[in-house]
């Protein structure tokens, strides 16, 4: 595919998983849009063809929400294209700080008593007990060096990879993301040094020995986890 222009801003590559659009990060956004429109109108797929997923690679360009909308509009309109992902190497400082906050581990040494709620952004390390009727909530993992008798809710914003560990685990409820499990109705003894996590096969929260974390959750560090998951 030859282009008459001296410098082209848009490169299109076909892969097995669909199309990848590389948008040069040095030109203005308007120029990029214009060229994108031209290119796409030339390469428009036929009506009966299946929808093609498109990955857009923005390089070191930061795009605002309205620009994302515009890009998506250009790509999807009149085309059998679907924007699968928009990848950019750049994030805002505020986002980065939020990420850092999210990845941070907060340490507390206190007892969370009945009726009390301890909420944090990021991971929580609690040195002390969670008594019956008490609740701990975090957006990341929860590590309890003490007894968990109350409710623990990890990954409260929807992180299904979050885990809950406790030296003594006898919770009334474990919640991870939007999963809930509760203690059985019969009186049960707790377990020592165990963790709760979402089992993908069973699609529910399971409690297992801490050792399983070594292969089920290889990346416990919140920051790494979030960078990798985008």
């Amino acid at each position: 595919m030859q282009d008459t222009k001296q410098k082209q801003f848009i490169t299109i590559k076909g892969t097995r998983d669909g199309l990848t659009l590389f948008i040069d990060d040095r030109c203005s956004f308007e120029d990029a849009c214009r060229e994108l429109q031209e290119k796409l109108s030339v390469n428009r797929p036929q009506k009966d063809e299946p929808v093609v997923p498109v990955t857009v690679k923005l390089g070191n360009r930061y795009v605002y929400d309205d620009q994302i909308e515009e890009l998506e509009k250009i790509i999807t309109e009149d085309n059998h294209f679907k924007v699968q992902t928009l990848e950019s190497n750049v994030i805002l400082k505020t986002e980065a700080l939020e990420m850092l906050e999210d990845a941070d581990i907060k340490v507390f040494n206190r007892i969370v008593r009945s009726g009390q709620v301890l909420e944090v952004t990021g991971d929580m390390l609690l040195i002390g007990d969670v008594n019956p009727g008490g609740k701990v909530v975090s957006t990341g993992n929860i590590y309890i060096m003490g007894s968990l008798h109350g409710i623990a809710h990890a990954g409260v914003n929807g992180d299904q990879n979050a885990i809950i560990t406790a030296s003594y685990m006898n919770p009334s409820q474990l919640r991870i993301a939007d999963y809930i499990s509760r203690a059985p109705d019969y009186e049960s003894d707790g377990v020592y040094m165990e963790c709760g996590l979402i089992d993908d096969e069973k699609d529910k929260i399971i409690i297992d020995r801490l050792q399983v974390l070594a292969h089920k959750r290889k990346r416990l560090n919140g920051f790494e986890r979030r960078i990798i998951n985008g």
Binding site: R113, S114, D129, G134
Partner: protein, 265 residues
Amino acid sequence: MGEAIVVTSGKGGVGKTTTTANIGTALALMDKKVCLIDTDIGLRNLDVVMGLENRIVYDIVDVVQGRCKLKQALIKDKRFDYLSLLPAAQTSDKTSVTPEGMREIIKELKTEYDYIIIDCPAGIEQGYQNAVAGADRAIVVTTPEKSSVRDADRIIGLLEKEDIDPPSLVINRIRKHMMKTGDMLDIDEIVQILSIDLIGIVLDDDEVIKASNHGEPVAFQPNTKASIAYRNIARRILGESVPLQSLEDETGMFRKVKKFFGIRS
């Protein structure tokens, strides 16, 4: 300068009033000047337990609202001079006393008395706020029941936010046989959950009910288990180190037995 101790529990019916009356009596028996304050406005009964009901002329609401002087409202105990009672009002509603009002009263009483024991109403609303307002330390009463331990836990959480010393725990109404069979929470379990200092355990004793119906706190009796228990609590408040009552070594034995079986199975 005296010390103000609030007796509280969260849950009703665990024996706050009885504990207040008896700790107060026991302290007075040890030659301390003690003043009891009933803050359960509308549902007063500390005066009944103390047998001072028909001597009430003025009450705490009258003091707060300036209808009488504090000294006029205090009732001297009929048995000995060291003990006084500031009764609650029966007819006014709870909002007539404020935490500030309580602080004033307690500050004044502290100059006269060695110990001021405050009987707190059940619940965690205004009445509780009033009772805790002027206190220097707190005694939390619980029974070996889950619901009452849960409420005690809640109260301890609230007390930790107040500017007072860490609370101490009294476990009331212990039934030896039920604890032995494991039908009741045992003492270690309760202390472990609440993780505060245990200042006394009191056995469930018919004498307690008999005595309070006669308006005579059980602490006056020389030899019943409950009266010894209350006097021990008083001694611990004074700073003596007194071992827990005999039940403790029975549970100790029991624990050993359990452990023994635990190892075998």
